[in-house]
């Protein structure tokens, strides 16, 4: 190949670049001006990017496929320098590379995110932003202060990113996802960083784990097709165990949302059957394999139309306030053939999306420090919470053992190619280097 890369046409170069991973592209981009143009004008899709912000610490997760991710953790070390820890497809410290960088974590986070992902042809599927604080407070009295502090933090971060990149709209993403503790104002601030033409939805996700299961059993969502933000918005509570109290939660969501609520069940199990059978209305056949029962329920906010639907994929219930019925009908007209189960359906969802949500519960113990998505509130360590963690950990171990026994994860015959900057060098002893860098200054 030597001396002949330049003999390839731009079309062929782009074909090659299209097969490269994120870091290799970045590396090739830095070789010369011509290659930079070739890389910049080649389409690239990153399914999911997650940014978690905690005090001055940052976590950047760039997911490039199922179980394929780059994990970059940044924290402040002694002397105000940043200690950066990089991992590829692993959460274990033994696989990490640690380095000391001269500036603050915020600066380096901006450098990484803008440098790698802020490109005209780079599209992010979902960009997830997690902040601590917001409405997640111990005492209700502190809520306003906490919200204001979080808003200030987000505004400052967004301004910094915009100044750093020299653009007001930094990222191209199809969906902005936030954690349950944020509110609309915070989401509006974050939305400013995105190219408006590409952004199709804003979703707020919360996770409720269980003591018995690690896989999602149900999901309680709200969906607002026409929100004040100008794009569809929604909330999503991932339930790892269905409890009758979740029905009340679903009713409340359906009553309060300007759109409609949906309760989805991953399987048509006994609980779901019981719920389906409890509706004493005639069954309607709405398409080849879809059946429906409709009933009206009175609430404090008016009457709600409960639409129970079943298909071979599963079972779900729409809760629509009578005054919002038109909103739902408009939505339904556009999405009539789509599966009502959403990301819970293995058959109809994109495999990456399905896998991501199935493993969301593992985050609680794989990254205990960064599990702000957990709706129980990570800041409030209780016995119940640690019990859940223990159970989750036990389930995880069992799962891993089963995978190992079945040879699924044996790694035989496959070799993971390390990306540039994420080579397997083990944890370095950086204490000496930190001391040296402090001395120099």
């Amino acid at each position: 190949m030597a001396a002949n890369w330049s003999d390839l046409s731009t079309e062929l170069k782009q074909n090659v670049v299209g097969r490269l991973d994120l870091m290799s592209r970045h590396s090739l981009r830095s070789t010369c001006r011509l290659n930079r143009f070739v890389v910049d004008f080649t389409e690239f899709f990153v399914p999911r990017v997650r940014v978690s912000v905690k005090d001055s610490e940052f976590l950047i997760m760039i997911h490039t496929g199922i179980d394929k991710f780059l994990r970059i953790e940044m924290r402040i070390g002694s002397g105000g320098k940043t200690i950066i820890r990089k991992l590829q497809n692993s959460y274990h410290a033994k696989d990490a590379i640690e380095k000391v960088l001269p500036s603050t974590p915020r600066y380096h986070a901006a450098q990484i995110l803008c440098g790698l992902l802020s490109r005209e042809k780079t599209l992010i599927g979902v960009m997830e932003w997690e902040f601590e604080g917001g409405i997640d407070v111990k005492n209700q009295a502190d809520e306003q202060t906490s919200i204001q502090a979080t808003i200030a933090k987000i505004v400052s971060l967004v301004n910094f990113f915009q100044k750093f990149s020299g653009k007001s709209q930094i990222f191209r993403a199809n969906k902005l996802m936030t954690s349950w503790n944020l509110n609309l104002d915070m989401e509006a601030c974050l939305k400013q960083m995105f190219v408006q033409e590409d952004l199709r939805k804003i979703e707020r996700v919360g996770l409720m784990t269980s003591t018995t299961s690690l896989t999602p059993a149900a999901s309680c969502d709200s969906y607002v097709p026409l929100s004040g933000m100008g794009i569809p918005c929604g909330t999503n509570s991932v339930l790892h165990e269905y409890d009758p109290m979740h029905w009340n939660m679903f009713m409340l969501v359906s009553c309060q949302t300007p759109g409609f609520g949906v309760l989805r069940f991953a399987q048509f199990n006994d609980t779901a059957k019981e719920l389906w059978n409890s509706v004493k209305e005639p069954i309607e056949k709405i398409s080849d394999k879809k059946y429906r029962k409709v009933c009206l329920v009175g609430t404090f906010n008016g009457r709600i139309l409960m639409m129970h639907e079943r298909s071979p994929c599963g079972y779900w219930v729409y809760g629509i306030l009578e005054k919002n019925q038109r909103v739902f009908e408009d939505y339904r007209r556009l999405n009539f053939n789509s599966c009502g189960l959403g990301w819970l359906c293995k058959k109809c969802t994109d495999p990456f999306e399905y896998n991501y949500y199935q493993n969301l519960g593992r985050r609680v113990f794989l990254e205990p420090k960064w599990s702000g998505i957990w709706q129980s509130g990570v800041n409030h360590e209780t016995k119940a919470l640690s019990d859940k963690k223990n159970v989750a950990w036990k389930c995880y171990k069992e799962d891993e053992k089963m995978k190992k026994d079945s040879g699924e994860n044996s790694g035989e015959g496959t070799m993971v190619q390390k990306m540039w900057g994420f080579g397997n060098q083990g944890v370095e002893d950086i204490s000496q280097r930190m001391a040296e860098s402090v001395k120099i200054n």
């Binding site: 190949m1 030597a2 001396a3 002949n4 890369w5 330049s6 003999d7 390839l8 046409s9 079309e11 062929l12 074909n15 090659v16 097969r19 490269l20 991973d21 870091m23 290799s24 590396s27 090739l28 830095s30 070789t31 010369c32 290659n35 015959g413 190619q417 390390k418 990306m419 540039w420 900057g421």
Partner: protein
């Protein structure tokens, strides 16, 4: 040369950049979308000119096409480990120049499978490399090499300047030497004429 009949027995003549011709089966040639678009329906009178590529390259490309005629429908590039022994031999026995020629020819002929395999092969060489390693692979000069090259060029320029200056000096000297006799001649002629004029005036 041949009719556009779809029988695999049909042979087409291909002309290379050297002007040489060789025949390729219709079945192999039909893997080229360029050929399909240009000749399949109307047929070709005489050899088909692919004169941008030499004979060796074209033969290599069509060797691949002949081999993959009976393979199942193409479904995206395979993993390196999934390539057959024949495929691996095919790629390994090519030198780098030939490889690049083959990929360019394959791209021109729009043979999707071969182009895809070749690009995947290049991508494999580049994957996981840092900028410096990548520069070595694609052989771009590094900053140091550029600096060294610049220094050499500066030295060369300085040397050339010196030579030019010397040459200019020599030329100047030659010019004065050449000019002297002319001036002398003019002077002598003038003197002679003056003397003649004076002698006339005296007469």
């Amino acid at each position: 040369m041949t009719s556009p009949a779809s029988s695999s027995e049909v042979k087409y003549l291909i002309e290379s950049s050297e002007g040489n011709t060789f025949d390729v089966s219709g079945a192999a040639l039909r893997q080229s979308n360029t050929f399909n678009a240009m000749f399949l329906n109307i047929g070709a009178d005489g050899p088909i000119p692919f004169t941008d590529y030499n004979e060796a390259t074209l033969k290599k490309v069509f060797e691949y096409c002949e081999h993959s005629v009976n393979e199942e429908n193409y479904s995206g590039p395979k993993h390196q480990d999934d390539l057959s022994k024949w495929d691996l031999n095919f790629f390994n026995e090519m030198d780098q120049k030939m490889f690049i020629d083959v990929i360019n020819a394959s791209n021109f002929l729009d043979i999707e499978r071969l182009t895809s395999y070749c690009c995947e092969r290049i991508a494999r060489m580049l994957r996981g490399k840092n900028t410096q390693e990548m520069i070595k692979v694609i052989t771009l000069p590094t900053a140091e090499e550029l600096e060294a090259k610049q220094k050499v060029e500066e030295k060369k320029a300085a040397a050339a300047k010196k030579v030019a200056e010397k040459a200019a000096e020599t030329a100047e000297k030659t010019e004065t030497l050449e000019e002297l006799p002319v001036q002398q001649l003019v002077q002598t002629t003038r003197n002679k004429l003056t003397r003649k004029y004076l002698s006339f005036s005296n007469e």
